[in-house]
Symmetry: C2
Subunit: 108 residues, 2 copies
Amino acid sequence: MSDNNKVQDENHSFDTEFLEKLIVGIGEVSKITNIPTRQLRYWEDKKIISSLTEEEGKNRRYNYKNIKKILLIKELLDEGYSLDGAVKKIEKRIQMIESSISKIINKQ
Amino acid sequence: MSDNNKVQDENHSFDTEFLEKLIVGIGEVSKITNIPTRQLRYWEDKKIISSLTEEEGKNRRYNYKNIKKILLIKELLDEGYSLDGAVKKIEKRIQMIESSISKIINKQ
DNA sequence: TCATTTTTTGTAGATTATTTACAATTGCAA
DNA sequence: TTGCAATTGTAAATAATCTACAAAAAATGA
């Protein structure tokens, strides 16, 4: 194995660690997804999405899975679904996303 | 191609977009890397690492490349390098990391 | 159309997180 | 031990986010 490939492999294993540990604030999620923070909070109020908030009043934190779901909701809204419609539609795809994340993280 | 594989592919192309857009605050970087915020600011003062701060006084922002470099520095310190030593050692590996990131983002 | 509901958006005042800039402390090598 | 490198502490100011109110806009259905 060449030196170069070795480093690529190190990067790969780091990336899974990276995804595992990744936790992001609402401002960054807003920039990543292009959804206003106000809207993200509203969706959470309506139980459409969730975050990792430790206690009431503390800042919201989002992991990779949270962000994935947000982007999926957004996609469905763009397709014309209502929020409730999106929630109903979403179950199957969420499961696929989760199994995909689990594959990434657990290197299965 | 099965439905399942299709979704996996969608996830993959999303991930590259995700990495491209990913921007993280100092608190999150601290949690991801396990390096105190105080230390991250010190390293930046000493020009060891950099961030995407828009203006003086605004909060620091870090992208994927920034975080990669921080983790690399940490690794070298653990191996016994001094900060200056790490900076000198790092050039070649930074280049490899960058080309690796560029491959991920540009799907080359 | 009109009324109702859903969804987005605005904002004030309080709180949390980060900033800079000072300095103190710790660790290490000559 | 002396000097430099590196980390850590902290106060006061600012930035970002919080909740809780409400208003505006968009979608739905009679």
